[in-house]
């Protein structure tokens, strides 16, 4: 039975710098394998849709405009994403990657969470398409 068994720890702390990382000032990158924000490149994509099928949170949607010309648009919702990496495993053509340096996604509104990947003109077409679909659904 003793009193103050942690004295050694406490005493040492007076003389060493605190272990605190001064976060906004110094930003330590997580390991290479860290799973952050998703990125998609349509170059190798075949439009098989396995990533969409296996996503546990319905965070990704793939709109195929022209399979042969590799015109795909991916709608990615980072507010739904679980950052689990199943899509990376499911994709046989390595189109999807999770970045290790992009993980501070906090935002004051929810709008910023929906992202579109693809060529800009394709994104526009798909947006129009999506809007039409939504409009069709509404009355019915």
């Amino acid at each position: 039975m003793m009193i103050g068994t942690m004295f050694a720890d406490v005493f040492r702390s007076i003389f060493v710098k605190p272990v605190t990382q001064l976060y906004p000032k110094e930003r330590n990158l997580p390991a290479e394998s860290y799973r952050g924000k998703l990125s998609f490149s349509p170059v190798a994509c075949t439009g098989c849709g396995l990533c969409v099928k296996d996503c546990p949170a319905k965070a990704i949607e793939l709109t195929t405009l022209d399979r042969a010309a590799k015109r795909f648009v991916m709608t990615y919702r980072s507010d739904r994403c679980l950052y689990c990496g199943q899509c990376v495993v499911s994709c046989k053509f390595k189109c999807i990657d999770l970045a290790n340096d992009d993980w501070e996604h906090a935002a004051l509104g929810k709008k910023e969470f929906t992202l579109y990947y693809g060529k800009p003109e394709d994104v526009e077409i798909s947006l129009v398409k999506l809007a039409q679909q939504a409009a069709e659904k509404q009355p019915g």
């Binding site: 009193i3 103050g4 942690m6 004295f7 720890d9 406490v10 702390s13 007076i14 060493v16 605190p18 272990v19 605190t20 001064l22």
Partner: protein, 303 residues
């Protein structure tokens, strides 16, 4: 002119505002020390001030209390009590603003006013946590009050006076920490009990009863209580170091001695586990009071 200068002394310097600022400063040192001992960075220097100002600017939710009058009055009484206690101690190494034979007893009871107010404030509430907190605060008050008084009685007996300024003058010649080490330990731990610092924080044990008696207080009321606590911290530290650490006669001596004492309490805070209320009471009456009595007994005989 006389009235003006005493008003100045009462409200601005050396009492009143000065004590408030000093209290906040000491609270920061305390938090910073604890943080450093826990290997963290800890709060910035203006943290306690920001906390208090913010609390004042917040909405005050008035819970359905039994008496609304008491709900508003108690925080004010609490802080005035601790501020008034500041008048009788050698704050900043200066002569006490006010002094009369027997002011030691008055000061001690002014310091207890805070806990009493907190107890009443908790009792005044319909919240269960407040009630349990109030009961614990008052039980603890009964536990440490007598040993703490006895521990301060030692130096007073040695000095042969009940006046703080005279004990202080006597202490300047005699380091009573050496002649009455037991009394010092009891006084130090008694002070921690008074301030409800860990390990005596059962009345506000966050994990059991949320925030104890103050659970329902928000905004202004909470600000007054918190402020009162920091004032009590600086007053208590001054009192104990004036009695046991060779008196306080100058500004440097004040800072060195009180901060050294604060360092000691911070160390104890980090090292000890919270005591259950029954353990606290047991500790005080079984050991604290007896030790303090023995100390006084030895002194009487020795004299």
């Amino acid at each position: 002119m006389n009235i003006l200068s005493s008003l100045f002394a009462l409200l601005i310097f050396p009492a009143g505002l000065t004590i408030l600022v000093g209290g906040l400063f000491y609270e920061w040192i305390d938090r910073k020390l604890v943080a450093r001992l826990q290997n963290r960075v800890g709060p910035r220097w203006f943290q306690p001030l920001a906390d208090i100002v913010k609390l004042f600017s917040k909405e005050e939710i008035e819970p359905p209390t039994m008496t609304a009058f008491l709900f508003f009055l108690l925080p004010i009484v609490a802080i005035s009590g601790s501020l008034a206690a500041g008048l009788y101690v050698p704050m900043l190494g200066l002569k006490p603003s006010s002094s009369f034979p027997g002011d030691l007893v008055v000061t001690l009871y002014l310091l207890s006013l805070m806990t009493l107010c907190m107890g009443l404030a908790g009792w005044n509430m319909t919240s269960r946590f407040s009630l349990v907190g109030a009961t614990r605060a008052l039980t603890q008050l009964c536990a440490y009050e007598a040993p703490f008084l006895l521990a301060l009685l030692g130096p007073a007996l040695a000095a042969g006076s009940w006046q703080i300024s005279e004990v202080n003058a006597y202490a300047s010649q005699h380091w009573m920490i050496l002649t009455q080490p037991v009394g010092f330990v009891v006084a130090l731990i008694g002070l921690m009990g008074k301030l409800e610092l860990p390990p005596f924080d059962a009345p506000e044990a966050e994990t059991e009863i949320v925030a104890g008696a103050l659970t329902e207080y928000s905004g202004r009321g909470l600000a007054f209580f918190n402020l009162g606590k920091s004032v009590e911290l600086i007053v208590g530290l001054t009192l104990v170091s004036a009695f046991y650490l060779g008196g306080i006669n100058s500004l440097p001596a004040f800072f060195i001695k009180t901060i050294a004492l604060l360092g000691l309490t911070a160390l104890l805070q980090t090292l000890l586990t919270r005591l259950r209320i029954d353990q606290t009471v047991g500790l005080w009456w079984r050991y604290g009071a007896v030790l303090a009595l023995v100390q006084i007994g030895v002194m009487m005989v020795w004299r």
